[in-house]
Amino acid sequence: MNPKSSTSKIKTIIMHEYLTKVKTKGFIIATILGPLLLLAVIFVPILVTMLGADSTERKIAIVDYTEKLGKDIVNSDTSKYFLTNYTPETLRKEVLNGKLDGYLVIPKDFLKRGKADVYTMGGGGIGFLNTLESNVREVARKERLREAGVDISVIKLVEEGVNINTQKITKEGTEKDYAEAYAVVGYVFGFIIYTLMLLYGSFVSRGVIEEKANRIIEVIASSARPFEIMMGKVIGIGAVGLTQVLFWVILSGILLYLIAPMLGGMVSDPELLKSQMMNQNQNMMMPTSFEIPSISPWIFIAFIFYFLSGYFLYATLFAAVGSAVDQESDAQQLQFPIMIPIIIPILLVGYVISNPESTISIVLSLFPLFTPILMMVRVAATPVPLWQIIASIVLMLGSFYGCVWMAARIYRVGILMYGKKPNLKDLFKWVRQAG
């Protein structure tokens, strides 16, 4: 027999871990559906506010006792509003019969008291109410100004909307800055890293526990060194994660460069924009035009690096914890200390996004346990100085080395230890004892 070197053993373990995981239905479904879900999370609210502001045809009758405002309100959307002389009692019946969606009663003293009532069958959503309210409000404001003797030109001036466009200064000149959009990108990437670290970390610990609980580990340990077994598993499962991430990156690249222009074009359609502006007039909640900013390939590269380094850092710790327990239900208590530093940065993301260049943000993002999420957020949200990026890379690699060293020592002892449920103190004892 031709004895093989140990590098080929770790390769065997990596391939085994990779192939068994990649072939599962769960992985294939998650890989394909993941981006769709994410797209849904990002775009559905936009599309809904955009298209669904008040897209359903509604007929609203207006009973105008002021005999002034009704006409202007009808003019704001003739397809929706019409003036009527019927009494509210008749209109009520019409609504109940379904011939009418509702009716608005404007009392005589409306301009003074500013109160009117709309009667509907209920429902209709916030979009409907907002539109109606802003239509009426606009007309009323114009009328009040006119009554106060303000010149028409002044009224026009008042109605001009205000819109601040952010401009980013670069060496090439100025370009449109999408600070808000980049903040969203940062948040999304940070959140993906968070999810993947937890998900793949728990795959590692579950895999280790499975081998220990089913007593497979004894046979494997008689074939390869514990370090090879642990790292083979960590790398193999990491490769599964990388496959998934690469698939997503390529897919989102395709989406961004092919489909986004179409979407963007749709959103900046002038007609839609107009209705949008009318819907929102006073409290501008949406930018007047929606364009998808281009995401630099560097952000994707950073994403892959911070995902991988974060995964490896935590996966080795998850492996160590997995090796220490006999069954999965015992693992939770020991996993808690590992999960906390994964969760904390998610709570800090909001702060870091709004102050990406503050000292606190810099320090937090350089703390290795937080780096994967917080540095990712910063890289996406703001131009991070090169030295900070290099520092984060060096610190990540150094901590990874440290974690592997510690985890390997725990793993070596843990996989053969059955019976008692160890606590954190025991794990540190194992680290010191392992020779």
């Binding site: 027999m1 065997t12 373990i13 340990a221 008689s222 074939s223 020779g435």
Partner: protein, 304 residues
Amino acid sequence: MDILKVNSIVKRFGDFEAVSKVSFSVGQGTVFGLLGPNGAGKTTTIRMMTNILKPDEGEVSLFGEKVGSLQQNRIGYLPEERGLYKKIKVIDQLIYFGQLKGMTRSDSQLEARKWLKKLDAETWETKKIQELSKGMQQKVQFITTILHNPDLLILDEPFSGFDPINTEIIKKIISDLKTEGKTIILSTHIMEQVEQLCDSICLIDKGKMILSGMVREIKKNYGRDTIIMEWDGDDSFLNEFSNIKYINRSNNRAEFRITDGLKPMELLNKASQKNNIYKFELAEPSLNEIFIDVVTKQGVDNES
């Protein structure tokens, strides 16, 4: 030629010394029994032979070299507590374990198919382990141990979980492997199997070696102090002797050891006065008896 040499190995876990100064050697083509009560340190000893654990003191050498990663490929180890991946197909597991022992993928597949066929298990190839019965799983496990054609087999309770028919099949394979010149280390509590299969043994208790040597010599040294007799009639004659230690006793049959200089002939004379004796055999003690004897004595020695 001795292919395995265990040279006064010591293993401590904290303050507890699990194995203390155990030494033995195993010749090529022989079956060696590693015996001892539960918790005696057998598994720890085996783990040091398979390079899972490193001894704190002493050394294990295999095929003339200190045991290490390379030697591992030549060992087939069947642990007492065993298991397989529940959700992976039989053939894929076998290929994986073969590869872990340094085989190429194609060789591993070839050997796996060969053994599955030999054990009448070809139809399980694409089944997942969780779909197999316990006995079938044991067969697959046994194949993982011998798939890579190891020169040294370490089998810890190899027959547990097998029905009598499959036990015979496995025994046959073990003796075939021995004929081929493979060396086998057997660890079991079932002494009849040791008597049937082992050439030499080593008995450890509380981490210490308390008995070792060739099975035949150990039994010979113990002397013929065991009497097996069968008779017709009354068994009350036995009650007249106080220095008898029964192994088992029924109305017409008794197996016992005599102590304190009781003469076998004296006993036979007494018995034949009232009864019709049709079997009287002076035998060597069974290994089972020796095992119990040595281990209990050891316990007494330790306490005094």
